[in-house]
Amino acid sequence: MDRVQERKKALRYIFQEVIDPLGYKFSPDEEIVDFLLEQEVALEDKHGIPYCPCQGLMGNREDDMKIVCPCIPFHRRHFDAIKRCWCGLYVHKDVSDPDSLPQIPESEIEGS
């Protein structure tokens, strides 16, 4: 039995329920999804919480809770503009080619 693999499946199950009503889906790129979920399991084992693997912890709870995966609700305007979350774990439901989506920082989004 491989607990990490089982936990990755469980996170996928739990997160699917959250992202679906937000208009997102898991990236069609299975390799990146598998890699990112594995990092989240490692972060959960270390911190007890599956933080975003691509954003740094600030060390205070208020900020850190905003990067608990899926962090889409806390970064909605930014992610909607680039049609993906920062990691690329999630993409808009209408995206079929995730590699075509540029990773643009929020500060460079028009109107920020």
Partner: protein
């Protein structure tokens, strides 16, 4: 030996109930129409898992949110952090699971 412990109609989809068999405390849960049985006490601090939640096949402890796969008893994640208990070896915290037999609406456990 198979022992009748409840009726299928006793558990709604996503529901959890507690049964006691020969002194053993067991939780029954229903996922996708099937019944699964695991030991009742969370391996972390012995909370009653029948008081937790069943989201799909994921059984969550009500006390510190440790999660298990109810189909196998595998511990999926440890308790949430910052509860005064160090992160522990999750791989040693799986629940015992029991074989369930459905017989004309009766739930029986193979013990």
């Amino acid at each position: 030996m198979s022992i009748e412990v409840a009726k299928l109609s006793d558990i709604a989809e996503g529901g959890l109930i507690n049964v006691s068999v020969n002194g053993s405390e067991i939780v029954l849960g229903r996922y996708e129409g099937k019944i699964y049985a695991v030991e009742k006490r969370c391996k972390h601090m012995r909370a009653s898992l029948n008081m937790g939640t069943l989201n799909g096949y994921i059984l969550t402890c009500p006390l510190h949110h440790m999660q298990y796969d109810i189909r196998s008893g595998i511990a999926l994640s440890g308790p949430i952090a910052n509860v005064g208990v160090p992160i522990i070896d999750i791989d040693s915290m799986h629940l015992a699971s029991f074989e369930v037999v459905l017989d004309n609406g009766k739930i029986k456990l193979e013990l």
